[in-house]
């Protein structure tokens, strides 16, 4: 990933904070990652670990009344976004960087037809005439395999099923040929058979258009089946990053290992008696983000923790082949059974 210009997006030491009644929430606490052109990067972690805030920071959509990017750098095609003016940012959003959210209903305008919404986005960013934009909208609906696209152009969001609305969101997000698509829990609200359709669609479209994707999810199964590289977050920090095969074959952070043991598995043969083996619990709760965390954020729940873990934050260490881990005890972890 070192070749100059191969990364379309570079995030460095990002810190995003919110002022709340309970104090300053350090939602993102020094996160760095790169996104290569045409790559699918997964960001995974439990609720509240800072995934959505990371996405909103890249898009500069953090509500200014309560939140701010407190430190760090976000470079898109070499251009610094954290200091970019709002007008320039507006030109980027929905055009060169676009996004899909969990609940399409909240991001679609209920009083405009889906055709109008997609066409407006195309007119705004590509400066083409309305008729051509409508044509583009129709093509896009076709592309996301909405049957009878021309008729659907004139329908309102509430007339569509959840799966169809998410397809419309994808159509809109891809309508201006973005270089980066940020998808925040795009299938979490959908049924499994519809989720499978949407994930497959996203991957096919990526092949066709070469758009790089940041796929944010709490679901390890979705990450395993759709991404090439994965960032694992815990309490606002990146704790591990690896190519997807390496992460699932040899997770090295105790938290990542804990997550993988805590999920019931469909793909592992149940034993013959059909008994129900205990799931491995991760004891305790995620820490509050209103207090600065001195050492490793996972220390209170970690079976490998030592005194040092509680006072000194572990640095991210490259263990080879693009696999990095933030853990003082990584050698002991690696030597222990998975």
């Amino acid at each position: 990933m070192s070749a100059a210009g191969s990364n379309i997006l570079e995030v460095r030491n990002l810190e995003t904070q919110f002022n709340t009644l309970d104090g300053v929430v350090r939602a993102v606490d020094g996160v760095s990652f790169d996104l290569a052109r045409g790559e699918t990067l997964g960001i995974v972690g439990e609720s509240g670990c800072g995934k959505s805030v990371t996405a909103l920071s890249i898009l500069r959509l953090i509500p200014p009344e309560t939140g701010r990017i407190a430190a760090g750098s976000i470079k898109f095609e070499g251009e610094e976004l954290t200091s970019l003016g709002e007008a320039a940012m507006k030109r980027l959003r929905g055009h060169r960087i676009s996004m899909i959210f969990q609940e399409p209903m909240t991001s679609l305008n209920p009083v405009l037809t889906v055709g109008t919404q997609i066409a407006e986005n195309v007119v705004r960013h590509m400066g083409v005439p309305w008729r051509a934009a409508r044509e583009r909208a129709c093509e896009m609906l076709d592309l996301v395999r909405i049957a009878d696209a021309r008729r659907r152009l004139d329908e309102y969001p509430h007339q569509l099923s959840g799966g169809m609305r998410q397809r419309v969101m994808i159509a809109m997000a891809l309508s201006c040929d973005p270089q980066v698509l940020i998808a925040d829990e795009p299938t979490t609200a959908l049924d499994v058979t519809i989720q499978a359709q949407i994930l497959q669609l996203m991957l096919e479209l990526k092949e066709k258009t070469g758009t790089a994707i940041v796929l944010i999810t709490h679901d390890l199964g979705v990450v395993a089946e759709t991404t090439e590289r994965v960032v694992v977050m815990y309490a606002g920090r990146k704790v591990e990053e690896a190519p997807v095969e390496a992460l699932f074959a040899e997770p090295l952070h105790p938290y990542t290992r804990g997550l993988m043991r805590a999920i019931p598995r469909l793909d592992v043969e149940a034993d013959a008696a059909g008994t129900r083996p205990r799931l491995q619990e991760i004891p305790g709760l995620v820490p509050r983000l209103t207090q600065p965390i001195p050492g490793c954020a996972f220390a209170p729940r970690c079976g490998f923790a030592t005194e040092r873990c509680r006072v000194e934050p572990p640095p991210l260490v490259d263990v080879g082949a693009g696999h990095t881990v933030a853990c003082w005890e990584v050698d002991r972890v690696r030597a222990s059974a998975l």
């Binding site: 359709q197 497959q200 395993a224 997807v244 469909l266 793909d267 129900r276 799931l279």
Partner: protein, 341 residues
């Protein structure tokens, strides 16, 4: 572990359960149709057994749960709880049986009074059913807190002071307090993070084995389902399309919809994406206007002309394995179906 015994009469028996909701429309709000939320469903659950109910959004899972809890009245059908037919009981007469069947929700917070301390909330059913009073209640509640893994001093806290997983423990303590026979758990871990989900699933299994509880466990998550259930019923548009032991369901699914669900489910294994089978196309039709014949024929790759007109009954095609598919006859070849044409 205590396997459910076959000889004993099931603690919950449901036969031919139907629940239709009227649809009102037009200026005068006349009845213009009905949603067939539950359309003739039968099953039973033994003591100590978990029956999983799985299916996509809107297929009628929660409606079944609410009907057996008698929170809503069935349109028709029989519900027999511990040998007693409760289907036609009026609220007053139902009271005596209500203790026996309790519920755990997806979001226990919404059902908790934010102004009452947690100890009072959990003790409420005990007092309501006249099972204990005052100091006695406090002692029993303290024991329940301990049993579900909450510290007794948490009894003085309010619902908003608990995390999602802790609230779910409160909900479990409350359901458990009156010593029920059956617990209807509707998506009890869906809102929880995986690390906390594991804690709650383990607790539910321990409690079941300790008290021989019967669970009707509703979930859309097949992996959770496979973990907790003994038997599983797969639903599609108000009907059970397949019901069998979890072993059989996962090793030899016979209904095309079950096959579709299993191949759509994701697994935390990057190698699996290359093995994925077909993905079923299309959307779930509306239960207000279900397709004729087999409800699944609009999405089924194996559908024949017959499937569009004849509704397949749920039949026992092999021992302990019921399937509703025209192409899965009694004693038929359990191998893959061929795609017609």
């Amino acid at each position: 572990m205590s396997e459910p015994s076959a000889a004993e009469r099931p603690v919950l028996e449901v036969e031919g359960l139907v629940k239709h909701f009227p649809i009102h429309g037009g200026l005068l709000q006349r009845r213009t149709g009905e949603v067939r939320a539950v359309d003739g469903v039968s099953f039973s659950i033994a003591r100590g057994e978990t029956l999983g109910l799985v299916g996509e959004s809107g297929c009628g899972k929660s409606t079944i749960g609410k009907t057996v809890l008698k929170l809503i009245e069935p349109t028709s059908g029989r519900i027999v709880l511990a040998g007693e037919n409760i289907s036609a009981l009026k609220p007053g007469a139902m009271w005596a049986h209500r203790r026996r069947i309790q519920t755990i929700f997806q979001d226990p917070y919404s059902s908790m009074n934010p102004r009452l301390p947690a100890g009072t909330i959990v003790g409420e059913p005990l007092e309501n059913f006249g099972l204990s009073r005052g100091r006695d209640t406090d002692e029993r509640v303290a024991k329940l807190f301990e049993r579900v893994g909450l510290r007794p001093d948490a009894m003085r806290k309010y619902a908003h002071e608990f995390s999602g997983g802790q609230r779910q423990r409160l909900g479990i303590a409350k359901a458990l307090s009156v010593n029920p026979d059956v617990i209807v758990a509707d998506e009890p871990v869906s809102a929880l993070d995986v690390s906390v989900q594991a804690q709650v699933l383990n607790l539910l299994i321990d409690l079941q084995e300790e008290f021989r509880l019967a669970y009707l466990f509703i979930s859309h998550d097949l992996a959770v389902m496979r973990h907790i259930s003994h038997r599983i019923a797969v639903m599609y548009l108000g009907r059970i399309v397949e019901i069998t032991t979890k072993r059989r369901l996962f090793s030899q699914p016979l209904h095309p919809y079950t096959e579709a669900l299993l191949s759509a489910a994701t697994a935390p294994d990057p190698k699996r994406r290359r093995q994925r089978k077909r993905i079923v196309e299309g959307d779930v039709p509306s239960p207000a206007n279900p397709p004729p014949g087999c409800h699944f024929h609009t999405r089924c790759p194996y559908a024949t002309a017959e499937c569009k007109v004849t509704a397949p009954p749920l039949i026992e095609v092999a021992e302990g394995h019921h399937v509703a598919c025209l192409r899965r006859p009694v004693g038929g070849d359990p191998g893959p179906l061929s795609i017609p044409g």
